[in-house]
Symmetry: C2
Subunit: 241 residues, 2 copies
Amino acid sequence: MISRKEIKLIRSLNQKKYRDEEGLFVVEGEKSVEEALQSGFEVIKVFRISEIGEEAMSRITLLSSPSPALALVRKPELPDASQINDLIALRPLSLGLDSIRDPGNLGTIIRLADWFGIGTIFASQDTVDCFNPKVVQASMGSLFRTQIIYCDLLQIASEFRAAGMPLFGTFLDGKSIYEEDLSSNGLIVMGSESKGISKALESLVTHRITIPSFSPSTEKRADSLNVALATAIICSEFRRR
Amino acid sequence: MISRKEIKLIRSLNQKKYRDEEGLFVVEGEKSVEEALQSGFEVIKVFRISEIGEEAMSRITLLSSPSPALALVRKPELPDASQINDLIALRPLSLGLDSIRDPGNLGTIIRLADWFGIGTIFASQDTVDCFNPKVVQASMGSLFRTQIIYCDLLQIASEFRAAGMPLFGTFLDGKSIYEEDLSSNGLIVMGSESKGISKALESLVTHRITIPSFSPSTEKRADSLNVALATAIICSEFRRR
C-alpha cells in the first residue's frame, strides 16, 4: 500500500528544492532498485507495481512511463573539506564537470566513470543535480558506485595543480589525445555543452587536448562531438595507456 | 505562407509509411536546414518561423518543440546491388548495424561515422529508419554526409568476407580492443541494444572484440555500455592506429 502522503512526497522529489529539504531521492526500474538495495545507500522504502498497482505507480513515477519498481532512497552525506583534501592527496584520475546541464549527459558520464574505474567526479555547482530522476535513470545504477562532489571547481582544480598533478582540458585547438602524454592521475575537465570550459578554469589547464576528426573533408563535417561521447573516447584513451 | 495541404503532408512524414510513399522527409533546426541546403540533397521547400509564424510552426514540428526552420527534403536514391558491390570492392572501413532500434542511438552513430571518416553504414532492415525525425535531429547534419544502406546485413557481411576482409563484432567475451589487431578496412558490426549481434551474423565474425572495464570491482560495476558509446570508443580505437 501507498499513502497519500507518500505519493505527495515522492512527486515533490522531482524538484531539487524538495530533494535537498527532505534529503531523499527516487530510484526507478527493477535493476536500478536492486542496485540501490545492494549499495551502501539507505533505501527508505521500495514500492512495487505488483503491490501498489499500476494506477498508483503511474501517479508516482517521475519518468515518462512507470517502472515495475520505485525506491525512496536517502541522499548520502557530502564529504567535507578535509575529506576532499584526503581524496586529492590519493592522486586518483578524476573527472571535473564544468556546467554540464543535460541530465542524460550527466547520467551517461557517471556510467562511463564507473566503467573506466574513475571513482570521483567533481562537478561545478551549476552542473545538473545528480539526484535528478533523469540522471538517476541514465546512470543505470552507476550512481551508487561513483562519488560525485559538487564544489567550486576552480578551487578543486587549483588544489590538483598545487599537488603537482596535471589538469587536462578539451579544446578545439588542443593536441591530439592520441599523441599527448596522458597520465594515470590528475583531473580531466569536460566543458559545458554550449560554452565549453570557462575562461578561469582554462588558465589552470596544463594539457590542452582534442579528439581529432578523421573526416576526409575539413569543411563539411561534424563540428563537434556530444560531451558524453567525448568523455567516452577520452576515458578510453586514458585507460588504454 | 504554408497551405493546409503542406501542413498535412509534413505531419504525415512522422510515419515511415508516408516518408516511403512520398519519398520525402523533414529536417528541423536552423543548422541542420543550412546543412541540407549545402548538401547534395534536394530541398523541396524551407519554412521559417519568421515567415509562417509560431503557431503554424508548432503545428508542423515533428519534434517536442518547434525550431526556427524546417525543410522538406527528398530522400536520396538508394544504391543498387552493383553499386553496393563497387562500394565493397573499394575496401573501406564500414559500420554494420544489426537491429539498432533507438532513434537517438542511430542519429548519434551517424554523427560518429561522419566524425571518424566512415562513409558507409550498412543497416539491417529492422534498424530504425534514418529519415525518422528523431534520427535526423540526433545526427545534426551528419546524415547528409554519410551513406546509409538498408540491406540484408548477413549477405553484405558474407560479401565482405568473400572479398577477404575482416569482420569485427563486439562481444562480452571478446579480445580487448586495445590488444586486438585492428585494420583500416572491413566491417565493424554493432549489435542491437537488447540482444547484441544475431547468431547468424556472429558465425561470420572473424575478430571478436570487447571494450574492457577498468572498474576495480568485478562484481559491482556497470554491466555494459550503450551502443552509441561503444561505437564511439571502437571507432576512436580503429582510427588511432
